[in-house]
Symmetry: C2
DNA sequence: CTGAAAGCGCTTACAG
DNA sequence: CTGAAAGCGCTTACAG
């Protein structure tokens, strides 16, 4: 690599100290009252040598890096891909860059990622916390590192978070099905104690109970890293054996997609035999033979708000903020 | 933020110099022949204080950051999302982190991203270069900064690149259609002089010519940021007015998806009225009423190879390598 | 208006 | 076996 140009090179060429060069290039020539012709000369030489400041040096000196650490479950998942994209753009607007990683919903991976990002001195974090990461998040927050949780929150901790009202989302979806006359409704969720998942299940249960259908409550739990065969086993059980379920509510993007693959090869037809409500949306929903009705989170807004909250913290705000955004319900033909 | 622990804190507590602490914590206690009990004490104190090295300081001193700059067109696009994920994992294996950005196929944005990433002293770049970025890429390469292009290459420049044989991909796809008896075949491509696009068009043209169908060659060009209406206009022209096209080959992921939305609302049926070949794959392809036959690039392999080539360069390799990987053809029911 | 100097937290030749 | 010291490229109080 060709030798990089430093402040010193410019200083020498102009015949001044590096201090002066630093002032000028950082726009402080007014307050430091640098001589007019010196300013001009420095600018010229900087341009001529194509000077680029070394952010690493600057970061070391100033104590901050203008970098945000972003950890999502899996960047290959379009839901998170979009989220990351929004956060990237929004962070850029404020002069921040993003250093990111995927946790695969694994709290150990999360811990390792937090460590490396901390070592790299990110100024703050935006995190989609996996199950079991409470301790790691708490440790971060105790070190007074700015942090915003997105898509999920931790119970009992005062940490900024941005998410939808998951309880209401499934509560309304369940009522939507009940209104249409479905009674034997099941919910398909991840095995997870995370707040959004328990809220999603909670909203469904409440709606069922209010209708006096507590006996018809069916909660099917599937692990995060499930295969299509796992899904088939669960749905076979729900639809063919046990309980002749009439309607299904899926609680994540990837569960919904797995569900679609099941019905793609099934004798059972949507919505004639079974109604289907998806979560988070995906182009596949639109192209399923019976376009899928689904609950969708305002990812763009969530991304923007999370950056805004983080910037507030970086600017010294100390009050904890929990933002609940409104979900939407896209009605198509699957119910 | 609570004061971070530095080498100096450990050194003071143990009562030795920072040099010694540095040696021990970097595993050089053997070659530097540090006293056994000193090693033990340093380890203990480091653990006790929960010491974390400051990578920024280390980077400044050592001249490298163990960071890769990654620029794709749009991380929200699952094709690139998957690519980024693979690169992230692969880079981590070698101890590198990834600083990334989306160019939106805009060479000015690319230039700005390259600048900020350079200022942040990334050790090398993996880039999906947009049209018109030849100069920017060349400048990087002349500064002898390690760089690997992925998905595309620059003509006439000796820069490592990883891509498929796009010419053969569409050549074979066109022949597949010809074998099935289709004659009036059109290709839908982006307005772009980029190498893969011209190769994709070239392969199609060649196959048509070999069959004596040069008069039936229809190349429909659509801009990168097209709307569904743009696509509808193009396809209406192709299918209804001008030329009664019998088969369509789409040359990117997002063009294919837009095409699917068109046929979702069209009187024309796939494959009865028009055959459809997609590119790159997407879950939506599987759920279209007539599952889509498509050409798919080996994204995982591409990601891995690009990291490998970059690491080779970082380790001093100076020979230019152009890797061409094999595409696959997924045969479903759309032809 | 300008410069010498300290210091951010590391690593590493060098000397002993 | 161990330490004093220089230096990576910046910024910034301080002195003049």
């Amino acid at each position: 690599m060709g030798k990089r140009i430093s402040l010193k090179d410019i200083a020498e060429k102009v015949g001044v100290s590096t201090a002066l060069v630093s002032y000028v290039l950082n726009g402080k020539e007014k307050e430091k009252r640098v001589g007019k012709d010196v300013v001009k000369k420095i600018r010229e030489v900087a341009a001529e040598l194509n000077y680029r400041p070394n952010q690493i040096a600057r970061s070391l000196r100033q104590g901050w890096t203008k970098t945000i650490g972003l950890i999502v479950a899996d960047i290959a998942n379009p839901f998170f891909g979009t989220m990351v994209r929004v956060i990237e753009d929004e962070a850029n607007k404020f002069g921040y860059n993003v250093l990111f990683g995927s946790s695969d919903e694994d709290s150990e991976k999360l811990g390792a990622l937090i460590d490396t990002l901390c070592n790299r001195q990110v100024d703050g974090f935006i995190i989609v916390p996996p199950e079991g990461s409470d301790a790691a998040i708490k440790r971060l927050s105790e070190r007074e590192i700015p942090i915003v949780l997105i898509d999920r929150k931790m119970k009992g901790q005062n940490i900024d978070s941005v998410l939808i009202d998951n309880y209401t989302a499934t509560y309304e979806a369940t009522n939507y099905l009940l209104d249409k006359g479905y009674k034997r409704i099941a919910i398909v969720a991840n095995k997870s104690s995370l707040n959004p998942m328990s809220e999603r299940i909670g909203g469904y249960c409440e709606a069922m109970k209010e209708e006096g259908l507590e006996k018809e409550i069916h909660i099917e739990l599937i692990k995060y890293e499930h295969t299509r065969a796992d899904m088939a086993e669960s749905l076979d059980k729900l639809l063919l054996k046990e309980s002749k379920i009439e309607a299904l509510i899926f609680t994540t993007n990837s569960l919904s997609i797995s569900g679609l693959y099941y019905f793609r090869n099934s004798e059972l037809k949507v919505p004639e035999d079974v109604a289907f409500i998806g979560f988070d949306g995906d182009e596949a929903f639109d192209f399923f033979y019976s376009p899928i009705t689904y609950i969708v989170q305002p990812v763009e807004e969530m991304g923007k708000e999370s950056v805004r909250l983080l910037i507030d913290q970086l600017n010294g705000s100390r009050k904890t903020v929990q933002i609940r955004l409104k979900h939407s319900f896209i009605e198509q033909q699957s119910c």
